[in-house]
């Protein structure tokens, strides 16, 4: 896994570096969202720099998934603004589709296309969205599948793979679009313990290669080793932001102390 995970042709933003740049890639400004009466996102301000890895952590129902999904507009917002690479998120339509192609998303439940082979899963977007030729798309796909360690499974269907393999294919599928940013919503929490590491390793490599990442996860090992920043959410608000080391050893807010004491005592 020494090879970097960036698709060929796209240089890493920060080759080998772990220090993020200073220019903002994603800016959320006073974002609010309701599900009926429930105020799931409350005045969320969050800026993510190019090359930065942000881990979002917090109790169940605090709005982490919703936050992640608003960034590529799988969820709409009620107020506030979201800009990606200087451009506000478009409304529905072709514009939005184009923007989504630049934002990779990895789901808790993998969501590989069930009726397509692994190879087809990774080529489909390149051909239909990026309008690449089939041969070029397939060679990119095979390179990416090799890099995430599932090259040998290219002709199988998703259902024939283990969870860890499926999730790595899902990461390859997102990377094939050459995204500027990757969103991960609890990518390892549907996995058996022995498969968690193989996925985390791929993500760690991706972080080292300078990919901008927003990762919802409770894997503290990953947060400690790969994250530049931890964002702690509770009840629809960002309660605390800190460096991982500082957050885990000495959280400022009582809410975070309480939460950490619960997950650390397991």
């Amino acid at each position: 896994m020494s090879d970097h995970l960036q698709p060929p042709g796209i240089p890493p933003h920060q080759a080998g570096g772990s220090r993020p740049g200073t220019d903002a890639l994603v800016v959320l400004d006073k974002v609010n969202k309701h599900f009926g009466a429930l105020h799931v996102l409350q005045d969320i301000d969050l800026t993510i720099a190019r090359g930065e890895v942000v881990v979002v952590i917090g109790p169940s129902g605090s709005g982490k998934s919703t936050l992640c999904r608003t960034i590529n507009r799988l969820e709409t917002t009620d107020s506030g603004s979201i800009t990606i690479d200087g451009r506000p998120l478009p409304q529905e339509g072709k514009e939005l589709a184009r923007l989504r192609a630049d934002v990779g998303m990895v789901f808790q439940s993998f969501n590989l296309f069930a009726h397509k082979t692994v190879l087809e899963n990774v080529t489909l977007g390149q051909v239909k969205v990026r309008k690449k030729g089939r041969e070029e798309a397939e060679s990119t796909a095979r390179t990416l599948l090799d890099r995430v360690g599932v090259g040998a499974q290219a002709d199988k269907y998703p259902a024939q793979l283990s969870g860890g393999q499926q999730q790595r294919v899902a990461i390859a599928r997102a990377l094939a679009m050459e995204p500027k940013l990757m969103l991960f919503d609890e990518p390892t929490s549907a996995l058996d313990p022995e498969m968690i590491n193989e996925v985390l390793e791929v993500m760690q490599q991706l972080a080292r290669d300078g990919m901008t990442m927003v990762v919802v996860t409770h894997e503290m090992g990953f947060a400690r080793s790969a994250a530049n920043r931890v964002v702690f959410m509770a009840d629809g608000r960002i309660v605390e932001e800190a460096q991982p080391e500082q957050f885990f050893s000495d959280p400022r807010s009582d809410r975070a102390k309480d939460f950490l004491s619960k997950i650390l005592h397991h």
Partner: protein, 216 residues
């Protein structure tokens, strides 16, 4: 005297008429039904309203009334030069499309939402998501009910006999009117013709179902 051998040419013409009417109406119904199902799940409100109206109107109109509306109403509104066969295809196709639409839609609803979300998240448009990801998976659920609907369509074609179309139903009426044949025997032969058609349809759909079952 044997009603079948005496009138074989007429039987053959009726049989072919029913087959053609069924096949062309089925084609129209499948295309329209799938399209309208797409409308019903589209993000564009106007298309959704149109889809709902289409289904509500056509599904709740008795087929005979629809035939009357099409064969009398459309020419009166200035649609000249369509012969009764094509008007019958139009009536049967539109009518059946409303039911096909709902079968396809139930298939769409059976596809996990994560599939469409994943497709959207790699930048696929609504149309691409529907045609590349959702519909192919929806077909597994939709195919058995669609098969039943096409069998119902084959039998519904008999209504066209009342509107100057030559098919099995009109053969039966002509022969019943001709003296000298046992109407039960006529009925038996006609029924046999329908059975051949409907069994062919269910055979085709069983084949399709099996092929989709192995393809994953």
């Amino acid at each position: 005297m044997n009603v079948l051998s005496d009138n074989f040419a007429m039987f053959r013409e009726g049989f072919i008429g029913t087959v053609e009417l069924t096949a062309l109406s089925a084609l129209l119904a499948l295309v329209l039904g799938t399209l309208v199902a797409g409308f019903r799940v589209s993000p564009v409100p106007a298309l959704r309203v149109f889809g709902t109206a289409w289904v509500t109107l056509l599904r709740n109109t008795p087929l005979v009334l629809l035939f009357l509306a099409v064969t009398l109403g459309l020419p009166a509104l200035g649609l000249k030069g369509w012969d009764s066969f094509w008007l019958a295809v139009l009536a049967l196709g539109c009518y059946t499309s409303a039911f096909i639409c709902e079968a396809v839609r139930s298939g769409i609803n059976a596809v996990p939402v994560g599939q469409a979300e994943a497709a959207r998240s790699i930048g696929m448009t609504f149309r691409q998501t529907l045609t590349q990801i959702v519909l192919p998976q929806a077909s597994r659920t939709a195919i058995p009910p669609v098969g039943s609907l096409l069998i119902a369509l084959a039998k519904n074609t008999a209504i066209a006999s009342g509107f100057n179309v030559v098919e099995l139903g009109s053969v039966q009426k002509t022969l019943n009117a001709a003296a000298g044949y046992d109407i039960y025997v006529i009925f038996l032969w006609i029924a046999l013709c329908y059975i051949i058609i409907t069994f062919t349809i269910s055979g085709l759909f069983r084949l399709l179902e099996n092929r989709l079952a192995v393809a994953r």
